[in-house]
């Protein structure tokens, strides 16, 4: 169940899930979508064309531009699912038109990397 819709939309794709918050500015390459923070559990993975699941965004306020750049460079996730909302990810997704939802802890725990899912914010379903 979707607990809260931050940015509306529909998406379909494979889940890429992280347990660690993301600092988009420092940790994600804005051209390729590859995570370059070697202390992050998605290190060297690409978030491009995934349904990106992570706890929440942290760090630099310019991370919002990173999200917008990822979209402009066709390297963005199809959608993002978080446990907690934050300003940087919310505003970046709003400008880039990337659907963003918050799910309950139970739902968050149930989602696994590699799962194929459809997300529709109108019906609030995954």
């Amino acid at each position: 169940m979707i607990e809260k819709v931050i940015v509306k939309g529909k998406a379909k794709g494979k889940i890429l899930k992280s347990q660690i918050p993301i600092n988009f500015l420092g940790a994600v390459d804005k051209k390729t979508g590859i995570v370059r923070d070697d202390k992050h559990d998605l290190f060297q993975k690409s978030i491009k064309n995934t349904i990106l699941v992570f706890p929440y965004g942290v760090g630099s306020s310019v991370g919002a531009y990173t999200i917008y750049s990822l979209k402009s460079n066709n390297s963005a996730p199809y959608a993002m699912i978080c446990k907690k909302a934050d300003l940087t990810v919310a505003s970046g997704c709003a400008l880039a038109n990337i659907p963003l939802v918050i799910v309950t802890q139970k739902e968050y725990d149930a989602i696994k990397t590699g799962q194929e899912i459809s997300l529709d914010t109108n019906s609030k379903t995954l």
């Binding site: 931050i6 940790a27 929440y56 760090g59 919002a64 402009s72 709003a94």
Partner: protein
Amino acid sequence: MELTKEEESALKGEKGEVLELAYRILVATGEAINADRLVPIHWAHLSGVNYNTIGDAGEEFLSKLSKGAKVQVKTTVNPMGFDIDKVSDYKLDDDFIKKQQSISESYKKMDVVPSFSCIPYEIFDLPQKNTQVSFAESNAAIYANSIARLKTNKESAFSALASALTGKSPYSDLRQEESDSPNLTIQMKVKNSNELTYGLLGYFAGKVAGSSVRISGADNLDKRSCKALCGGMGTSGQCGKFVLDDNDNQSEKIDFDDKEMQNILDELNTTDSGDLVVLGSPQLGLEEISDLAVMLKGRSFKKRCMIFCPRAIQQQASDLGHTNTLKQAGCEMLFDCCTCLTPLIDKDDVDGVITNSIKGAYYLKNSNNVKVNLKPLSQIIDDETK
């Protein structure tokens, strides 16, 4: 979130594309931080100026936006990628210079004050207590809420931009009059603290705290330690405010001790030596420059030393003789730019950077891919000058 009729109409696009975009951002951020309405703000401070941070997509976005947009309140901006007076000393390519100038022009076209500083709280007069502002730049937002007694969300580049274009921002917990009861207290247990330990404490606090945190055992912070705390906290987390206070028995408590400190040092300190000293993340204001000039009197660095500051202090630093003292000590002062994602430090040219900044260390390590040696300023001066 409840919108007024006028706000609703702007969101629908009835007042043009710029406002439609701005309200779309404000509504999403308002939902994200559980705000029930928008409130007027009196000062916006924007991040997203350095071409290295926002790239081609950002440059094009701002160029297009600036054709039809004007800010509605006093708006200041973060550092850009270089100091125009020093560009020829660095091997920046023409494309970088061109794109950076385009970004800076776009902001000016929108009537932004070209301050290019990440410490607006030090170079502008502060409005009265509890004034609502919108500060992106995480260290500035935390400083505004915690030290300057202003009210801001820990804004993103876009939420602050949307605030500048509308004069409004979502009314979150951090903006309320009585938001002084964090549910977590961090007990500072590290002895002999200095700005490096406070930067580490901030980085730790950012990781464990929610939107605000209480810190006990950390009284009488000087400017340097205070800014280090704000910078470290802004780098690692979502936390937008700290309260320095020893009188609390209610909230959950966590210790920040030598072991926790070492864990973070192990993460960010990646070498034991370096060939370049970098100071100024956040930028150094006049107070810290004066301090540094006293510490460096009659000494000189054995290595290159870059110091990042706001242009606003250039004249005063020079009039007071500090610029000269620092120059004689072998320092290079750079204005309008800062350590974070600087194009002026290339991993192919340096073996390691020596700095006292946790924020600087994080971005030097992850974005510039250079090794970092962290030590407090007093030790940097002991070790690296003669």
